[in-house]
């Protein structure tokens, strides 16, 4: 089987690549495109470390084939900050020390960004359910949840002031 030729948009940039049929989107991001921010944890869709946004929905990039990305619009952790300016979720992860080893962090940040993209005022319970597909074995989750809720508050203020 010849390699699949794929044209897609990753972090607002048009990207073309060749991949084997069995390569996952995560394999392609990390091994072909050198976008190593998305992490490989479980490779079975349980841990969320490889979370990316595809056409507005979060998915585990380990459970999607690279060939399926044709014509899609993908956001990875590398596309969350705007240049040097951290996304509020990233800033609040730092301020709340919502990470220790950091391996799960890209997945949490991408998932949390997607939540706040569609709901700037999530309850704690909604936030915990939304992030139930992201596992962290260091923090015990509380700091992560506080960081996301705080980022939501910042973004609401920015929205009210017309910044974001």
């Amino acid at each position: 089987m010849p390699k699949q030729h794929v044209s897609t948009i990753i972090n607002d940039e048009p990207v073309e690549y060749l991949c084997e049929p069995q390569q996952t989107l995560l394999d392609v991001l990390r091994d072909e495109l050198n976008l190593t921010g998305s992490k490989e944890g479980c490779s079975s869709g349980d841990c969320g470390a490889c979370t990316v946004i595809v056409d507005g929905d979060i998915v585990c990039s380990c459970l999607m084939l690279g060939a399926e990305a044709e014509g899609r619009k993908i956001t990875t952790i590398e596309g969350v900050a705007e240049g040097d300016k951290l996304h509020p979720v990233q800033q609040k992860f730092l301020e709340h020390a919502a990470l220790q080893c950091g391996f799960c962090t890209p997945g949490f940040i991408v998932a949390a960004k997607a939540l706040l993209d569609q709901n700037l005022n999530p309850t704690e319970e909604e936030t915990r359910y939304w992030l139930a597909g992201n596992l962290c074995r260091c923090t015990g989750y509380d700091k992560i949840i506080r960081a996301v809720l705080d980022a939501a508050a910042v973004m609401r203020t920015e929205r009210a002031e017309g910044v974001r």
Partner: protein
């Protein structure tokens, strides 16, 4: 996985040809949340993957006069967000919602949940209870089958080579008809059902049940349509006596396994309890619809 082929056809006929023409195992790909895991573990070794998501109408829900038609590759998020469907069938929607995380919901499909053929599939009991129909495309054309006729055992389906389910048709509820699905897991999220139960009831103006379907999951090699449970409900209001008979019927229908999630005795007992509770919710909803006058 040497020599794996991938194709993303844009018509049902092309997909059937690709599936039927493969010399080895050929698998349709919708959300891939089961297939990719099984390929990774080596449990499934397809030679051909047919991505069905480029076929028009296979993603999304459309309405006809009497049915909802759910395309085979429609992800969970789209089902939960579909107001008319989730309002019409809250029980099916609850079952879909319970599958995996938000990431899984972004990909996983209702048809995939059926065709993966797990006895614990959360979206299937309420779908069977609602008399869902699977529309199947294959080398001999299209055919229809009741959803409960598809799964024949764990990991096994009645689909023939070259066939795949293109859509589900779910009849719209009649007046005073509603449903509910409950599952038991030993935690609050991200687990596989120990027992699941879907109940679908139609009531008359006096609250007496005129039609019912009771379906259990995770207590036998396939989902179980509990005929005796339906008979316990039909002709009755939901009083203690009726609930006791439903409970007993659900327990009798169980042929569960013993595993780390639950013993045979425990699963059997919980099946009766969930049947009672799901029936209560379905009855309340069926009556609520009458009061609100909406569908």
């Amino acid at each position: 996985m040497p020599n794996l082929s991938f194709t993303a056809p844009t018509t049902v006929d092309e997909a059937v040809r690709a599936l039927a023409g493969a010399s080895g195992l050929a698998k349709p790909l919708a959300g891939g949340t089961d297939l990719l895991v099984q390929m990774r573990s080596g449990r499934m070794r397809p030679e051909m993957i047919v991505d069905i998501k480029r076929i028009p109408d296979l993603i999304g829900i459309r309405e006809t006069a009497d049915s909802f038609v759910i395309g085979a590759a429609t992800p969970g998020v789209m089902i939960s967000e579909h107001e008319a469907f989730s309002h019409a069938w809250p029980g099916i929607t609850e079952g879909v919602d319970l599958i995996g995380s938000q990431q899984i919901q972004g990909r996983a499909s209702l048809v995939g949940n059926l065709c993966n053929a797990s006895p614990a599939a959360d979206s299937i009991p309420a779908l069977i209870a609602a008399r869902g129909i699977a529309v199947i495309a294959g080398p001999d054309g299209k055919r229809e089958a009741a959803v409960e006729a598809i799964v024949t055992g764990p990991g096994q389906t009645s689909l023939k080579k070259g066939e795949f389910v293109v859509e589900f048709r779910v009849p719209k509820p009649k007046p005073r008809q509603s449903d509910a699905y409950l599952r038991f897991i030993p935690r609050t999220e991200m687990d596989i059902a120990v027992v699941g139960c879907g109940v679908n009831v139609t009531l008359d103006a006096n609250g007496v049940c005129t039609d019912a379907r009771v379906v259990l999951g995770a207590v036998a090699p396939t989902q179980v349509l509990v005929e005796e449970g339906a008979q316990a409900l039909i002709g009755h209001r939901l009083d203690d006596d009726t609930l006791s008979r439903l409970d007993a019927a659900a327990q009798r229908a169980c042929k569960p396994i013993d595993d780390k999630r639950g013993t045979i005795e425990y699963r059997t007992k919980v099946a009766g309890v969930l049947a009672r509770r799901a029936a209560k919710i379905a009855f309340e909803r069926a009556q609520g619809q009458r009061i609100a006058g909406v569908h």
